[in-house]
């Protein structure tokens, strides 16, 4: 058990770093903030990262739940923080809410599927013991 946890720790740290990086990419894209001084390459880089990082998270996840749910954490957290601080829902009418919910759901589904793809790649590459369903 102790040996297993020791080998897990670097993976878990890498996993969480990937989630944090994805969070930075989400902030960057959602608020159009430049976080690195790489000039004209920045928009393309951050867009690619936003697609690649959920796959990396899936790749680093042993359990399918983690592979699917962890890529969603950055978007969920920024959505919750924004709604809590700046946008009370009752300022949005029912039909607008539906449109906004649809857009949010689209992003969440995309990230979840990318994470799942990463996890499936892990399972195909390293076998069932490295990527468990339960």
């Amino acid at each position: 058990m102790a040996v297993s946890q020791q080998t897990n720790v670097p993976r878990l740290i890498g996993l969480n770093l990937a989630v944090l990086l994805e969070g930075a990419a989400v902030i960057s894209v959602a608020l159009r903030v430049t976080l690195l001084p790489i000039g004209q390459f920045y928009p393309a880089t951050v867009s690619v990262l936003l697609l690649v990082l959920p796959i990396v998270i899936g790749l680093l996840s042993k359990r399918i739940e983690a592979g699917v749910l962890l890529p969603l954490v950055p978007v969920l957290v920024i959505a919750v923080v924004y709604l809590a601080l700046y946008a009370p829902v009752w300022n949005v009418d029912l039909f607008t809410l539906g449109v906004q919910a649809g857009r949010t759901a689209g992003v969440l589904v995309l990230l979840a599927v990318l994470g799942l793809c990463g996890w499936l790649i892990r399972r195909l590459t390293f076998g069932r013991k490295a990527a468990t369903v339960a």
């Binding site: 946890q5 878990l12 969480n16 608020l31 159009r32 920045y42 954490v73 957290v77 923080v81 946008a87």
Partner: protein, 308 residues
């Protein structure tokens, strides 16, 4: 029996010490990630609030026929407000709201019943001031700039073009103009802008002299009107756009007035500006607002750096 039941309980479902410790590390790490992400989001959102960044930014134009963009040939879309807005669009001001009403005085602005109240660029009911205050409160922080051009219709009847003389009653009309501006219109506009009000967000315009050629001695009358407007605006720290100076001032007003207004036009003989005159007013407004030519400079502080 008891022993057998215990034996059937799967190990992973019991809360034994190893199971807790197995989940402890991922759980703690995940909590740390969520807290770090939430902190970063709070900071980033405070710096760049998307509701202000990506929402509508309004230019609100208030006043009389000059703000309305009136021309006697029924071209109502080439006014100075239209010119200023065309330039502001380069600075991410997305929407023009023009509540100006041709024939508006300070009295009708407060109480309603403007002469041409059926012809507005943007629809509203009731007095123009009430509509403006309501709009400013509703879109607080998203309206910048606000231009106000009012006062000429309060006193225009006090100058007799036939005799080129000021008639009696102009002093009382100027006093009422001062009172309406300083006690009602300007305080209400400033209060409606609330904490978002900054010097320069709201500007007033003074007036050119359409009678500069026909009645050279009218200069004193226009100077007095402009002096009252300047004094009223100064009480609230509101900058005044020097339209009088832009039209040539004392020295060149008479020479420019035929180009900048319809007053010399044989068909219309109208005091309102031409399209060229409105462009001159727009340039003066932009100069006072502090972003002549705009050039990508956003007057709305919140959008600095947008679209990198």
């Amino acid at each position: 029996m008891m022993i057998a039941m215990r034996a059937r309980i799967p190990r992973e479902h019991s809360f034994s010490r190893p199971a807790v410790s197995r989940f402890a590390v991922p759980l703690v790490l995940t909590l740390i990630v969520v807290v770090v992400l939430a902190g970063a989001d709070v900071f980033a959102l405070a710096q760049r609030n998307p509701s202000l960044l990506f929402g509508q930014h309004y230019y609100l134009a208030l006043g009389d026929s000059i703000s309305f963009g009136y021309q006697p040939d029924f071209n109502f879309t080439s006014g100075f407000v239209d010119d200023v807005f065309a330039d502001l669009k380069k600075a991410n001001v997305t929407t023009l709201v023009n509540y100006a009403c041709a024939g508006e005085t300070t009295v009708t602005m407060i109480y309603g019943n403007c002469q041409e109240h059926l012809i507005h660029h943007n629809a509203y009911t009731g007095p123009q001031l009430a509509a403006a205050v309501s709009f400013l409160k509703r879109y607080a922080g998203r309206v910048d700039p606000v231009t106000l051009d009012i006062g000429s219709n309060d006193v225009i009847g006090d100058f007799d073009l036939n005799t080129c003389a000021v008639v009696t009653g102009s002093t009382a009309d100027l006093a009422r103009l001062d009172s309406d501006l300083t006690q009602t219109i300007l305080p209400q506009l400033r209060n409606a802008m609330g904490t978002h009000y900054q010097t320069g967000d709201l500007v007033m315009l003074n007036y050119y002299n359409p009678y500069a050629r026909a009645c050279p001695n009218s200069v004193g009358f226009v100077h007095e009107l402009n002096a009252h407007l300047a004094s009223d605006a100064a009480q609230f720290g509101i900058p005044v756009v020097d339209v009088y100076g832009a039209f040539g001032g004392d020295a060149h007003m008479a020479a420019n007035i035929c180009t900048y207004t319809w007053i010399c036009n044989a068909q219309y003989h109208d005091i309102h500006p031409t399209t060229a005159g409105y462009r001159v007013i727009a340039n003066a407004v932009e100069q006072t607002l502090g972003y002549p030519g705009i050039g990508g400079t956003n007057p709305l502080n919140v959008s600095a750096g947008l679209g990198n």
